[in-house]
């Protein structure tokens, strides 16, 4: 549309045409901030609009990374999304975000849409125990699974050490000497956080506490909390498999007229910023979100081994455990 060319911009800014390209594309070479500012000024003054589609055709790359995330209303997915965006933009990539809502078939459809939009690779931050994906060979771009707890055949995947994290969180609660630790978790039986919780009881020689299952949401945690803590046989401490559910459990505790940690000690899993501002602040098993995003982007753009990568979780001790 515009007749202004990159050469015009270069002339106006007093730089080479290549430097204009580095500024426009955020790379591949760094440009001093003062020079970049001069180029941006020239772009503005001249009204230059780079023809991105033509560029993409030429280099066979859109410099776009697709990212499929479940509901951004969950602070954990928002944090993953920000972290991926941050890493990608440092590499000169834009991120096309697609919200999957986590339903069956939905991730799959989102991947197809992103592929049709010409992304170079896709990161799928999945909530599905078994992501709903077509065979890898049928996908035209690399797909990397972020936040899966299990190995997924054919696909490079990475996630937090859910077993180890749950084990550490539960062991911490057991150390307070309140006996069996209850568990609030999602509907699917036997996943790694549950296994870690169970093993911790076994290792400590304490009986397993009761389990309440619910959606991975604030509402799901609230309902599970009422169920677990509303009866006379309530456990004195609870390990909650996600921050969102823990926020719901705190509401249940509050409505039952109980107090955390006096009546019920709580440790959650995820470590999003929300846990710093609950009352009381939540002791939590933190996922290494930045490191996971860094690793996922590297695997999506650079390829390499498809071996599964597991990153360690970190126990962050605050007030809800009774320390």
């Amino acid at each position: 549309m515009s007749r202004v060319t990159r050469a015009d911009v270069a002339r106006y800014a007093g730089v080479s045409s290549a430097v204009v390209s580095y500024v426009v594309n955020d790379g591949p070479r760094p440009v001093a901030e003062a020079t970049a500012a001069r180029v941006r000024e020239a772009i503005r003054v001249l009204g230059y609009r780079p023809n991105v589609s033509a560029q993409a055709l030429r280099r066979g790359s859109s410099r776009l990374l697709g990212h499929v995330v479940p509901d951004l209303g969950n602070p954990l997915w928002a944090e993953f999304s920000l972290a991926v965006d941050d890493v990608a933009s440092r590499r000169g990539y834009g991120v096309l975000l697609a919200s999957s809502e986590g339903g069956a078939g939905d991730e799959h459809r989102r991947i197809e849409t992103l592929t049709a939009r010409g992304v170079d690779a896709i990161i799928v931050t999945s909530v599905m125990a078994r992501p709903d994906l077509v065979a890898r060979a049928e996908l035209p771009v690399p797909v990397v699974l972020l936040n899966t707890f299990f190995e997924v055949p054919e696909f490079p995947s990475l996630g937090v050490d859910a077993f180890g994290g749950a084990h550490a969180g539960t062991t911490h609660l057991l150390g307070h000497g309140h006996g069996p630790v209850g568990l609030v978790i999602g509907g699917e039986s036997g996943e790694l956080r549950e296994q870690g919780w169970r093993r911790a009881a076994h290792d400590a020689g304490v009986a397993e506490g009761p389990i309440a299952r619910g959606e991975f949401s604030r509402r799901g945690g609230y309902a599970a909390g009422l169920q677990l803590l509303g009866g006379p046989a309530r456990p004195r401490s609870v390990f909650v498999a996600s921050d969102l559910q823990a926020v719901g459990v705190l509401r249940a505790v509050f409505e039952l007229g109980l107090r955390v940690p006096h009546d019920v000690a709580v440790v959650s899993f995820d470590g999003t910023v929300e846990t710093e501002f609950t009352n009381p602040q939540l002791t939590t098993v933190r996922q290494p979100v930045a490191a996971m995003a860094e690793a996922a982007v590297a695997r999506a753009l650079d390829g390499g081994s498809a071996a599964r990568q597991v990153l360690p979780a970190e126990l962050v001790v605050r007030a809800s455990c009774g320390c």
Copy 2:
């Protein structure tokens, strides 16, 4: 890369080439789900990868909408982001999200980056009282400002009725008869929420309560809450200009050994989902996020008048006000 053409896909699926295009581009015409599924299956089996860059060159449109948002860690921005994504995808547009961090000059840089990526239009969800933008004539694509409280010369903008919302929230607190209502708000003096709070006191014939200013963050609200409620002259009720700050105020109340609403009644502004799960649940002035996103996308893609659009807020009464 792939030699498979759209015609091949059409033949395999038993549809016209146009129908393949509708499926690939999510429009402009609807396709029955069974037919779309057949087309997607054909795309998969044949390994067809549409050449998006060539398509974009042909039609002079990338079918991409840029969205500049502040920190997604704020549930309000996450909600706006989801809502814009939802509206855009129903119109066959993908959304390129750019996080602005809200610093001076940053929105401006993000707009340049998105423009360089060939988006057709840009929505800026701004936290700046005066968005830092270049003149409209120097921008090659339409820019619409979402969530601004003020008219911004040259730019189409829309936002919630902040004055009316703050007035309603404060009036509700005044109705409980606890006297002057305190205010927790951001650092800039005199904005519309503050004006609405002040006018409500005036209209009710009650003295203005004290003001504590802080960042629009959980931490900022916490510090402001300690300041406002930590002394002997604390107000019996507080209007808080954002949900995030209200979450921080609740933590301050908790740490001061006070109770909501018994010692301090609280009403917040924004109405994000987080307010349903605080203890107690927050009475809040809700922004019409979905309607705002709908309006912003329509103005970005369809143009029309640049007149400012103001949408009404809704008071949602829960427990924190003492009702």
